[in-house]
Amino acid sequence: MYSREIGGKTYTFEPSGGLLNASLVMQDKETDSYWSIINEEAIHGAAKGQRLEQIPGSEKTTWGDWKRRYPHTKVLSVRHRGQRFEHDPREGYATYFRSDETFRGIVAKDKRLDNKDLLFSFHHDGKPYAVPFKAFDDGGATFDLGGRQLLLYRRQDDSFYRSTVAFLAPEGATFKRRDDGWVLVEGDRVTARFDPETRTFDNPAAEVFHGFDTYWYIWSLTNPKTEILGR
């Protein structure tokens, strides 16, 4: 989820029809500049160098789960300007998601991981990082990020559609996995508890952290000097 207000301007985005290392590149209708999702910035045109700002609060989950947690939710209508779209139960990208196939045969140059290894990836202090799902998908794991603890959470039976959730501990605090689940410990006090049902902490002290779930070949081609955590 991105803000469309960038540098005092409001933009309207559409697919450019092009890809950067197999990841989406948008074009805005106001200046025709090109915006890369994986770099989170405009890569060409008048807006070049402007950053995309992610807005917290989005996740991929099932409709049943979302509706239960947010009964007042609005849903994108299938009616749009006289057109009507139906929910299509076929998955457009099913073959791509479930095979070793890469987009147009594009492959990773960096062979530390396999092309289609799924990972949580992000930039921190200007440096690219990747954490393979298998390092934390048995109910979560913590990683050191410049002296602060990063908690990443997935379960092995999660669909690949489901977003990884990530939290950063305040300086000096730690995440601990106890029999009844993850907690945030500051000093000798538990200050936040993780609810595996909603995948949220009950206290914003555990800061929501943003990244992308993507494939190694896509991430590594754009971020060649990536540090891999959890190997």
Binding site: E5, T12, F13, E14, P15, I55, R90, S159, T222
Partner: protein, 100 residues
């Protein structure tokens, strides 16, 4: 023979340069960029309509992108996003783009 070479060499250079340019993506001069489809082939959704949950015609196991913001919640069917990639709208007063 010399004449033939004089003709072949520029031709060869041209083919080589074209090959390299094609690999790098010529359109915007950004390495790794490839124009796959003409712009506009995949249409974004602008100013969309939203309906209440009861009116959604979605099975419970359908995947959605959910967005909770400022006391409001929005859901976008991933299969709809597959065919449009981008939804431009406002959450409250804030112009946002849902991107998949």
């Amino acid at each position: 023979m010399r004449r033939r070479l004089a003709f072949a060499l520029p031709f060869l250079l041209f083919v080589l340069a074209w090959g390299v340019a094609a690999q790098r993506g010529t359109d915007i001069g950004v390495k790794g960029f490839q124009q796959i489809l003409p712009r506009g082939t995949i249409a974004s959704i602008d100013d969309p309509e939203f309906v209440p949950a009861e009116e959604a015609n979605l099975p419970d196991d359908a995947w959605v992108l959910g967005f909770a913001y400022g006391g409001e919640a929005y859901a976008y069917d991933l299969n709809l996003l597959n065919s449009h990639e981008i939804v431009n709208h406002k959450a409250g007063d804030r112009p946002i783009a849902a991107v998949w």
